[in-house]
Symmetry: C2
């Protein structure tokens, strides 16, 4: 039996006022006076790919904002099967259930190396008493999460697998002129997101490469020679 080592690192306490992603993060609307009211430490943490951030059912003491990398949120069903309910992108908030209940309602696992900020929920509740701005921002971020979760499922889980994969890639692609590069994850993870088996993901990628929609498929990324062509494919299935 092998011990599973979860690798993480503490990068210090966050300086939120100077944070590079502050404009897109939770504390965007806070001013200097608000920051002076933050006393509990906000930790800046790094995790390696596949590390566990928290597990469904854990006592929820903090919520998080993702700075770099990708995270999957998975819901584990009573029968043991699991399903990826959301992919967290940089700038997104996750673990907000901490504010409501005592336990996380899903597990958060790193898909890549990640860097994130851990915000103790006591900060939110104490600061929330005094700062309507913070509450507004939470409502806004939360709403974005809901709407991303809904459109994620709607677009990633309808139609033939190749079409779904096209939507998935378009959501994550970083444009470089008319072409682009999109990250890939473990085929099994991608299968959980789109509700197919990993072999099917593999076949779909190969088939789309044959059609000229994708090139240069590796474990971790894929090139999209023409975003326009892929978008047409995703909309019309051609």
């Amino acid at each position: 039996m092998k011990t599973i080592e979860i690798k993480s690192a503490w990068n210090g306490n966050s300086n939120c006022e100077a944070c590079s992603i502050r404009s897109s993060a939770l504390f965007a609307e806070l001013n200097e006076e608000d920051f002076s009211k933050i006393h509990s430490p906000i930790d800046d943490l790094s995790f390696e790919a596949y590390a566990n951030i928290y597990t469904q059912g854990d006592s929820s003491q903090s919520l998080y904002t993702l700075r770099e990398g990708y995270i999957k949120l998975l819901h584990i069903n009573p029968n043991g099967s699991s399903r990826i309910v959301r992919v967290v992108l940089p700038g997104n908030l996750f673990g907000m259930e901490a504010l409501l209940g005592e336990h996380y309602e899903h597990s958060a696992v790193a898909l890549t190396n990640v860097r994130l900020c851990r915000i103790p929920k006591v900060i939110i509740s104490s600061l929330g008493e005094e700062s309507p701005r913070l509450h507004r921002q939470i409502v806004k971020k939360w709403g974005e999460a809901l709407s991303q979760s809904e459109s994620w499922f709607s677009e990633i889980n309808t139609g033939r697998i190749e079409v779904r994969l096209a939507h998935f890639l378009l959501k994550l692609a970083k444009e470089l002129g008319s072409s682009a590069i999109a990250p890939l994850f473990r085929r099994e993870d991608m299968g959980l997101m789109m509700d197919v088996k990993f072999e099917t993901i593999s076949r779909a990628l190969a088939s789309m490469a044959e059609q000229g929609l994708l090139t240069n498929i590796t474990r971790l990324s894929v090139q999209i020679p023409s975003i326009e062509a892929l978008r047409r494919f995703s909309e019309r299935g051609i």
Copy 2:
């Protein structure tokens, strides 16, 4: 060509302080003083089954709480296909995107005859300035919506269709001792929720009746002779 008549009725302005579902609704935490600050009218409306409440892309001026009946929220994809992203149950809040942006991000359509309250968003923003209680309640309701949406998809969209249908029925069933009765909707709507065609829903219902899991299937409802048996089936697929 036939004109489609959308039938709705105005039941008057809501008296939120005396509302029967107030404890589970948005204004649960407000006190008398807060209510005195509400000036815009909150309408109490009724819609017939299949009526449109609002449409994706409409200018969003209000959010809603459902009092009676069921509502489907559908997301319409760029390619024209649509998918039910959430089913709204009595006491739930919907249309919260109104607070964030200028347009609704999905359409809301009545599955049955419904009764609901329409809350202009100006109430929330003006009241929100002064009442942290209301903001807390919005965050809470919104979080419930997110978590329902996630668990909805996770449990209703994994596995064989009969298993998914079992989860669906268990979520909506009203217990009567050891048996129960669950509402059904149009087969096409149910198909959109579980991502199958309406014929498949029909076949699944028939097959589960043959197995003794369901009896008395009609257009609008179905009897569950043993909730326990259905739950075992939903968890183990037997």
